[in-house]
């Protein structure tokens, strides 16, 4: 196990370096930060001076070396836009995104898994057909359209839920949570549904397909023949066997949920990392973009590692193969 983890860690390091290089390359094309930082009346000489101060006129290899060096030493620098320390800005926004992502994930699992099991066990039921059509809509309608529709229905027309922001948050040792107040939950519910919908449809269809596969296998038929109670067959024998691919996909998708929360956060003005990233692109705030991209890369790398470890925990066969 330990050599396996060590090997994966070294691989991850290269992945992170590649992410950093890609992010850095991207900055050549996002635009000119100095034009964004200064007013129209600023003289060209003053703009040039600022450019030199920011190190934007240095040779590109030197800029890249400095960029990686700063990241490695944990010196994330200061935002071009607000002049705040980037590390602090990111840290302030992490709770909002994580809470949104986790609740979205939770919604997708709580609805997706039972829905998938139901659809697999009753393939001809009208409920199943409705679920499958529903999931088709879920994957094909873009997130921002769903978000706007929900806002106009529940926020504007019915007036039940807030249309933007996080509502009431409580600060617990620097972690601002919206999970402890009713207001926070009211603000959270629409963005979480919007963000979780795609994940939900994916989980539902995956659970259904896997479960149907498993139901056709010999050990389930044997269990049926033995006359075991249906509940035991479905949930102890069949469902457990569907879990391996589901856990993989769900965990990998969680990285996606965090990364693609950009759209949902923009639609709901949800003050998380995604919104910060969008603002930073608009302003060519390179230090913030850099740290965000590398952080997202890091999340994916860690999730992949966790999935590999979880695999081994869930499925003993993989453990044996790894040991061999």
């Amino acid at each position: 196990m330990i050599p396996f983890i060590a090997r994966r860690l070294v691989q991850s390091l290269f992945v992170m370096l590649a992410v950093a290089a890609l992010a850095f390359a991207l900055f050549r094309f996002v635009g000119d930060p100095v034009s964004q930082m200064t007013g129209v009346e600023t003289a060209p000489q003053d703009m040039e001076r600022l450019r030199v101060e920011l190190g934007l006129t240095d040779p590109i290899p030197l800029q890249f070396a400095r960029f990686v060096g700063d990241l490695v030493t944990g010196d994330f620098g200061y935002s071009y836009r607000t002049r705040q320390p980037v590390g602090e800005m990111i840290a302030q926004r992490v709770p909002a995104t994580l809470e949104l992502g986790l609740v979205a994930l939770l919604i997708s699992l709580v609805v997706g898994i039972p829905g998938g099991i139901y659809a697999a066990l009753h393939p001809r039921a009208p409920g199943t057909q409705a679920l499958l059509v529903g999931t088709l809509i879920g994957v094909s309608v873009p997130t921002f359209v769903i978000g706007i529709l929900l806002i106009f229905l529940f926020g504007v027309k019915l007036g039940w839920l807030p249309t933007f922001g996080r509502g009431g948050t409580v600060d617990i040792g620097g972690w601002r949570t919206s999970l402890l107040t009713l207001d926070g939950w009211r603000a959270l519910i629409l963005p979480a549904i919007t963000l979780g919908l795609y994940q939900l449809t994916l989980t539902l269809r995956l659970v259904r397909a896997e479960m149907m596969d498993v139901m056709r296998t010999d050990h389930i038929r044997f269990a049926m023949a033995r006359g075991l109670p249906l509940g035991t067959i479905h949930y102890r024998h069949a469902f457990r066997n569907t879990l391996v691919p589901v856990v993989t996909i769900v965990a990998l998708q969680f990285g996606g949920v965090i990364a693609f929360s950009v759209v949902t956060e923009s639609v709901f003005q949800w003050p998380g990392l995604g919104l910060l990233f969008l603002e930073s692109i608009r302003f060519v705030d390179i230090p913030v973009m850099a740290v965000y991209l590398v952080l997202i890369g890091f999340v994916f790398v860690v999730l992949n590692l966790l999935v590999d470890l979880l695999y081994a925990a869930i499925d003993p066969r993989i453990r044996v193969a790894g040991a061999a």
């Binding site: 094309f29 996002v30 635009g31 000119d32 034009s35 964004q36 930082m37 200064t38 007013g39 129209v40 009346e41 600023t42 003289a43 060209p44 000489q45 003053d46 001076r49 101060e53 200061y78 836009r81 607000t82 002049r83 705040q84 320390p85 800005m89 706007i148 806002i151 106009f152 926020g155 504007v156 027309k157 019915l158 007036g159 039940w160 839920l161 807030p162 249309t163 933007f164 922001g165 009431g168 009713l182 207001d183 939950w185 009211r186 519910i189 923009s266 639609v267 709901f268 003005q269 003050p271 919104l275 910060l276 969008l278 603002e279 692109i281 608009r282 302003f283 060519v284």
Partner: protein
């Protein structure tokens, strides 16, 4: 509104699943929290959060507009943009030398209670004119600032400068003691400093809480020297970047006012009871510019061919070929106003003598092109933004198709503004779209930035990307800047406006509209500079 319908009525409708029921219950519990807030709490939103609370660090409209509620200048603009006394009660030209003497208001205190004196003005000048400041260009004509006594301060300028008081309406005064005690004697350059997130001004509102990018709260300042016209007890600002979300927030009643809203949403807001749209004209003129200093075309099928725009007849043909009224009617939904000059009608120095736009005349455009030796037209590159001005990309597409009708083929390149200026500075265009709002609200401003021959030393012409150059205009600009007699000054401005029109240095298209939306119970003033002043807000 739906909100007022009895809650039980909503519950009774339709089959309610367990989930919906629990949701409904949680809503029922939270309804008191969501009820209408105290009448005097005012919530508003714009698209861009002011990136700093430091009035000298960034010369950008979101920052200056917001901070004008917290800090004040020596002078300020009234609802019609005219200059009126603020921290200075009067001002007069110096005797025996060039410059202005400002007499300061008595009994003004900063939010922390310290007294406002001439020394604070001197300090603010030193801070705003420092290398770290982004507003230092305002003080380019100033050679010395002298404190005469606690209530009197002199700004000495290198030449007569009749517009100096107008040009410093956004020069906001900071307390010396507070700034120095908090290590913020200069605007933040790399890392933030205390003044980035804290304020100590003399204005009608003080900063109560600041959460950058999320929410900023202001509270009225009890010790404000002026009589408060507003009745706001708390003002809460939220940036909402997505226009659809902003509109939803207004229509759901969560915010009281938003600026701006997209043109296409105007009808939606107007159609609803309890809301209104505020329309006005901004001071921004949208125009087309040419590459005047280029021997050859850079883009399109004729790249490398001699630059036809060097011929004023071709430039005039372009102006004649564009039907601004149609652009206004279709793309700007009739809310814009055709422009004839580099600044909107009505601003100081606007040339009434040159008020008429060239107009739309396709036949004349074709004839001029033929006369200039381009009977079959030519192909060139048009650069355009897609996120800077209202419907900018659509306007450029319309311009391209109108030019196509007279036989010239514009190859359109659109890009976000964050890439745009860099491209223009690198001369990557044959023709380009530009919007200009004169920071001083005077005709001298666009001449200095757009019409003067670019000159690093005198720092003029810094936005004259096409390098248009006219010796007479260059000769007149310093005279305009120094002329004290309004009639003589206007005569020179008229002459410059006539030259710009005759030569078609730019093709002014239209004045951009300004569109805000608010609840019907909100009284406010929409100033043409797009600044939103809380001191005029009344919640009824």
């Amino acid at each position: 509104m739906t909100r007022s319908r009895p809650f039980s009525a909503r519950l009774a409708r339709g089959g309610i699943s367990a989930i919906a029921l629990s949701l409904a219950l949680s809503l029922a519990l939270s309804l008191p929290l969501a009820g209408p807030a105290a009448a005097e709490t005012f919530r508003w939103a714009t698209t861009t959060d002011p990136q700093t609370m430091d009035p000298h660090a960034v010369n950008a409209a979101p920052v200056t507009s917001f901070l004008n509620n917290v800090y004040e200048g020596l002078v300020r603009r009234d609802a019609e943009m005219a200059i009126e006394p603020s921290l200075a009660t009067s001002w007069a030209p110096l005797e025996g030398e060039d410059g202005w003497r400002f007499t300061l208001r008595e009994g003004v205190t900063f939010h922390d209670g310290s007294a406002f004196t001439a020394d604070d003005v001197l300090f603010s000048y030193e801070r705003a004119a420092s290398e770290e400041s982004d507003v230092r260009s305002w003080f380019a004509p100033v050679t010395e600032v002298r404190v005469v006594d606690d209530r009197t301060i002199d700004f000495v300028t290198s030449a007569p400068n009749p517009l100096f008081p107008d040009s410093i309406a956004n020069f906001l005064i900071m307390d010396r003691g507070w700034a120095e005690a908090n290590d913020a004697a200069r605007p933040a350059r790399d890392a933030e400093n205390f003044a980035t997130r804290n304020t100590n001004g003399t204005g009608p509102f003080r900063l109560a809480a600041r959460d950058p990018g999320i929410e900023t709260r202001l509270a009225p300042f009890d010790g404000w020297w002026d009589e408060a016209r507003h009745n706001v007890t708390e003002a809460i600002y939220t940036p909402i970047g997505n226009p659809a979300t902003g509109l939803a927030a207004l229509l759901s009643g969560e915010i009281d006012m938003i600026s701006p809203i997209p043109l296409q949403d105007v009808a939606q807001v107007e159609g609803r009871e309890g809301f209104r749209v505020l329309e006005g004209l901004e001071t921004r003129v949208i125009m087309l510019g040419f590459g005047h200093d280029r021997e050859t075309l850079k883009y399109g099928a004729d790249a490398g061919a001699p630059n036809p725009f060097l011929d004023p007849r071709v430039r005039r043909a372009v102006a004649l070929a564009i039907d601004v009224e149609t652009i206004d009617r279709i793309i700007m939904r009739g809310k814009a106003e055709p422009a004839s000059q580099l600044l909107p009608a009505g601003l100081s120095g606007y040339s009434e003598a040159n008020d008429a736009p060239l107009g739309f005349d396709e036949a004349a455009a074709r004839a001029l092109l033929a006369e200039a030796g381009h009977p079959d037209g030519f192909s060139f590159g048009l650069m355009c933004t897609n996120d800077r001005y209202i419907n900018d990309e659509a306007v450029c597409r319309a311009v391209a198709s109108m030019l196509a009708r007279v036989g010239i083929d514009a190859e359109l390149t659109v890009m976000p503004v964050r890439n745009y200026w860099e491209e223009l500075r690198a001369d990557n265009f044959d023709m380009y779209l530009l919007g200009w709002s004169p920071g001083t609200f005077d005709a001298e401003h666009p001449i200095r930035f757009l019409a003067a021959t670019p000159n690093e030393e005198t720092r003029v012409g810094s936005w004259n990307f096409g390098g248009w150059s006219n010796t007479r205009v260059d000769e007149l600009l310093p005279l305009v800047q120094q002329e004290l007699d309004p009639a003589a000054r206007q005569a020179m401005l008229d002459e410059i406006a006539a030259i710009l029109q005759e030569e078609v240095a730019y093709v002014p298209l239209y004045v951009e509209p300004l569109i805000w939306a608010a609840k019907a119970n909100i009284d406010l003033v929409q100033r043409p500079d797009n600044f939103f002043m809380l001191r005029w807000v009344r919640v009824n």
